[in-house]
């Protein structure tokens, strides 16, 4: 947990991954969020997922906007560069960073305010461009850092600590992603680490934009009885659409989620994401039926979780643009500059 200081001493029992690193090597600084904040649980799941995947820490790039959730990149993978940028503008910065170096693992942390109000436009276009990154919305229905205003994901009728109930229709990032052509869409809950960890691993393996809407209750401003983004409400109304297992490349498939109703999707790096569909006929690769199912369930106040939609066939930003395998930031000047002789030659046309 990022809010608990760990001893620096290692002991033989401490598990090591394929890089011989412990989970400590994937942690960052101490969290300064409120005790019990959902975001800290998401951070812990992320630490675990990256450790299990054995991504070299310095190959991770952490990005965020502004808000409580956007503070969390300092709390994981201290050995990775991070960029806590501007409110609602992280998707563009991530796109540019990704453009410069296609080889790194980009993890963007955002919140419902950052992504669904000011950031709605940039989030939408980053999804359309299929920028390869893991994009986590830590969704609590409020603006925590500015002390409790409604966000765009607050449900109709929900009440803030003080004042009028919200009357504006909520924006659902999952439905947004489905309508905009996002290629990996998932929803989870900060309290469900068992679901979150394989989901995050699948998101990293996905060759494109992976949207994760994670209900992450705000204990200070929105965890009360009337809130639909509270721990209580979420636990009572959650429906799992899929259960996900992540199988790294070259590893035998172990049937951890049961053999029946399993869909498997091969990822571009050779790993495998296996889904067990919980409701009959739920097919995470069929967009129209996913939309119908979600709308039907959500009209009943249910929160559908799991890896909800996955399409591995769409090119990401770099594949779409045919960019070089060598990261653009690493190309040598000689490759990029046509040289003096060519300048002489090409100017002959400027007469």
């Amino acid at each position: 947990m990022p809010s608990i200081t760990k001893p620096l001493v290692t002991y033989p029992g401490l598990q090591r991954n394929a890089l011989d690193l412990t989970m400590r090597d994937y942690e960052g600084s101490m969290s300064t969020l409120c005790a019990g904040c959902g975001h800290d649980s998401v951070t812990a799941a992320l630490v675990r997922a990256l450790w299990e995947l054995a991504i070299p820490p310095h190959r991770v790039v952490k990005l965020s906007g502004i808000g409580c959730s956007s503070k969390t990149p300092t709390y994981f993978v201290g050995g990775a560069h991070g960029f806590n940028s501007a409110h609602g503008r992280m998707p563009a910065i991530a796109t540019g960073a990704n453009a410069a170096n296609r080889d790194l693992v980009y993890v963007g942390i955002s919140g419902d305010g950052d992504s669904l109000s000011i950031g709605l436009g940039q989030l939408s276009h980053a999804m359309r461009r299929n920028v390869r990154m893991v994009y986590v919305i830590e969704n609590n229905g409020v603006y925590g850092l500015t002390k409790g205003q409604f966000s765009a994901s607050a449900d109709v009728g929900s009440r803030a600590k003080r004042g009028e109930p919200n009357r504006l229709a909520p924006i659902d990032p999952v439905m947004l992603g489905l309508s905009i052509g996002a290629t990996f869409i998932a929803r989870s809950f900060s309290g469900d680490k068992e679901q979150l960890v394989p989901m995050l691993k699948a998101a990293v393996a996905h060759r494109g934009f992976a949207l994760l809407d994670v209900i992450s209750p705000c204990v200070t401003f929105n965890d009360h009885a009337g809130s639909t983004k509270s721990y209580l409400y979420t636990r009572q109304h959650e429906i799992k659409a899929t259960e996900t297992d992540f199988v790294p490349p070259a590893q035998e498939i172990t049937a951890t989620i049961g053999p029946d109703r399993v869909t498997s999707v091969a990822m571009h790096d050779g790993s495998l994401v296996a889904f067990r569909s919980v409701p009959d006929g739920y097919d995470p690769t069929d967009r129209p039926s996913v939309v119908a199912y979600l709308q039907e369930r959500q009209s009943k106040g249910e929160i559908v979780t799991g890896v909800l939609y996955l399409d591995e066939s769409v090119d990401d930003l770099h594949a779409m643009n045919g960019t070089s395998a060598t990261p653009l930031a690493r190309l040598e000047h000689e490759t990029l500059c046509p040289g003096a002789a060519e300048l002489e030659r090409l100017q002959a046309g400027f007469r």
Binding site: T95, G96, T323, L328, L331, F350
Partner: protein, 614 residues
């Protein structure tokens, strides 16, 4: 009063003027006149004569008035003239104002298919009527062709009237329509229609006429936006993000064309670049900042309204110390303003873009050759000083073709990537802290993501200390922002130095100094010549970069009175000079021309005289 139609012989016996005239062509936009106009301008260039062609076009696709101004001057004074010798009046909507602009003794060429209203007649002007529409209707069948060929026909008439080299113009047509014989033949026919008519009906050539010279043999014709794109290519920019906006769009169009030609790997076919058309300017600058942070040379090109949107992230890049290159091709503001008119109105906004204490490095090119060189310099400055650099061009420079010296490149150029620590460097230090270990210019070394975990740090726009940690402690915060201003000041020695020309040579400065920047250059130089001929001596300084260095301070200090010439309402360059140099306000006066058209020498002369009288 006689209505003049068709003929004009026996011109007032004017003295002959060779290679010194101003021609204005008034058209309706969307009728294909641009082709004829640039043909003429290019032909004059090929005749070896210094020339400029300025497109004064409306913010519209079809149907509104558009003008093209050709200034020919053997001494190279090709800034816009206000005294037109020859007006080609092809737009009945604007006949009255067009005819009013011709100088006494000048000429109006008009389409005599329809008679000119007697009220338009001026006894002091020669009217040359050519039945362009009638001739084209007789010789061409297709309606669209009839409209297009009228323009080439008047071009033919001008070739005769100005004594231009007809074979040269025919060669240009042949080259332009190589492989399209039908088009070439039509254009040729139209050209001759006009040429023959003029030869037959008027005394050709007119007293103001052109003769082959040898002043452009080693020069090129290029617009500033294309030159800018070429500079970005040569500097090694790999990531570009943009949003279309007049008049900067053609920068990215040109960059794309160059990349398609020069940045495709010959073996793999892979692209060594990525251009993203962003959803807006906020996203465009975000992408540039993200790419620059991650080690790529990245840029965007925009105009004033785009800069307004980019303010927030420019401030972030300033405070977090991330390189970014922005090309601002300025147009008339405020707000939507006049998108197709020119100004230098973004100076203050760019110098201080974003809230809080921010100061950016600016470059002020005056012509396409400087657009090329300064674009390259922008990337070196941005990475060396780890900060945004904004190059302020303008519509007149960016979108018009200029006669420019051939661009040169030194193959020994190495990009200045600034202080970046790799794995080897990290071996040699105990610990890396992002905003520490600054050198005498205030630049602290950075590391790039993906290279080494020991180089990891957190970039943030929130308060940070020299270790890159979050802080709310006053001294820690101040230490960093004080270093930023030190860093900016250090750039003064590296940005392009001002161009200074002393009228009295080494013996001491004239008491009057004329200061300007960017596209005002040619008009101001011409004005200084006119003033000198009237006995008013002035020294000249054209600033080319911000922050201002010692040379700027020294020039201002050495003159009792300085007149700052610029194209904006609020004297922004003057304001910046008063804020950023020791020059007292009282010493700096203004000459302002901000109506949206390129500057002319007459405006400067009148303005300086006015200031000297007060």
């Amino acid at each position: 009063m006689q209505v003049v139609q068709g003929h004009s012989r026996g011109h007032t016996r004017e003295r002959t003027r060779v290679n010194d005239c101003a021609i204005k062509l008034a058209n309706v936009n969307g009728t294909g006149s641009a082709s004829a106009n640039s043909l003429l301008m290019q032909a004059i260039f090929r005749m070896g004569i210094p020339v400029s062609g300025k497109n004064l076009f409306p913010s519209n696709i079809q149907g509104l008035p558009t003008w093209y101004e050709i200034r020919v001057n053997k001494d190279g004074h090709t800034a816009r003239a206000l005294d037109y010798d020859l007006m080609v009046a092809m737009n009945a909507q604007t006949y009255d104002r067009d005819i009013a602009e011709v100088r006494a003794g000048g000429y109006v060429l008009y389409d005599a298919t329809w008679p000119l209203d007697p009220s338009l007649h001026r006894p002091d002007v020669h009217f040359l009527g050519v039945p362009l529409a009638r001739m084209c209707n007789e010789h061409f069948g297709d309606p669209r062709e009839r409209i297009l060929m009228k323009n080439i026909a008047y071009a033919g008439a001008l070739v005769a009237l100005l004594g231009m080299e007809l074979p040269l113009v025919e060669d240009l047509l042949a080259a332009k329509f190589a492989g399209k014989e039908k088009l070439r033949a039509s254009n040729q026919r139209a050209l001759h229609l006009g040429y023959d008519y003029a030869q037959e009906h008027f005394d050709c050539p007119l007293p103001c006429r052109l003769e082959t010279m040898e002043a452009t043999g080693d020069k090129i014709l290029i617009d500033g936006n294309t030159a800018t794109a070429l500079g970005c290519l040569y500097a090694g920019a790999t990531v570009a993000a943009w949003y279309p906006i007049t008049p900067s769009t053609s920068v990215m169009d040109a960059f794309k064309r160059f990349c398609e030609k020069y940045r495709r790997d010959p073996e793999t076919g892979a692209n060594n670049y990525l251009i993203i058309q962003a959803e807006d300017e906020l996203a465009a600058i975000g992408m540039v900042v993200g790419a620059g942070w991650n080690g790529a040379r990245a840029f965007t090109s925009t105009s004033g309204p785009g800069i307004s949107l980019m303010n927030e992230l420019l401030g972030l890049a300033y405070y977090a110390e991330v390189p970014a290159v922005v090309i601002d091709v300025q147009r008339v503001g405020p707000s939507t303003g006049m998108p197709t008119r020119t100004q230098q109105g973004d100076i203050l906004e760019c110098a201080y873009a974003s809230h809080g204490d921010t100061k950016h490095i600016l470059l002020f090119p005056a012509n396409p050759a400087e657009c090329f060189a300064f674009a390259v310099a922008a990337f070196d400055l941005a990475e060396r000083f780890q900060t945004p650099v904004i190059m302020l061009s303008d519509l007149d420079i960016g979108m018009n073709d200029w006669v420019a010296p051939r661009l040169t490149w030194d193959d020994s150029y190495r990009p200045d990537r600034g202080r970046v620590l790799g794995a080897d460097d990290l071996d040699r230090i105990a610990a890396f802290y992002r905003y520490s270990a600054d050198d005498e210019t205030g630049v602290a070394p950075r590391t790039l993501p993906g290279v080494d975990p020991r180089g990891a740090f957190f970039t943030r726009g929130s308060g940070h200390n020299r270790f890159g940690g979050y802080t709310e402690i006053p001294d820690e915060y101040q230490e960093v922002v004080d270093r930023l201003v030190q860093k900016h000041r250090a750039a003064a020695a590296v940005v392009p130095a001002p161009v200074i020309e002393n009228s009295t040579g080494a013996r001491g400065a004239a008491p009057l100094g004329v200061v300007t920047l960017g596209g005002c250059d040619l008009a101001v130089r011409e004005a200084l010549g006119i003033l000198a001929a009237q006995g008013i001596a002035a020294d000249y300084m054209r600033v080319r970069g911000f922050p201002f260095g010692d040379a700027v301070e020294a020039f201002l200090d050495a003159h009792e009175l300085c007149v700052v010439v610029e194209q904006n309402r609020d004297a922004q360059l003057r304001a910046l000079l008063t804020l950023e140099t020791g020059a007292p306000k009282e010493k700096l006066r203004s000459v302002l021309a901000y109506g949206g058209f390129p500057l002319s020498a007459q405006q400067v002369v009148d303005g300086v005289m006015r200031e000297l009288e007060t």
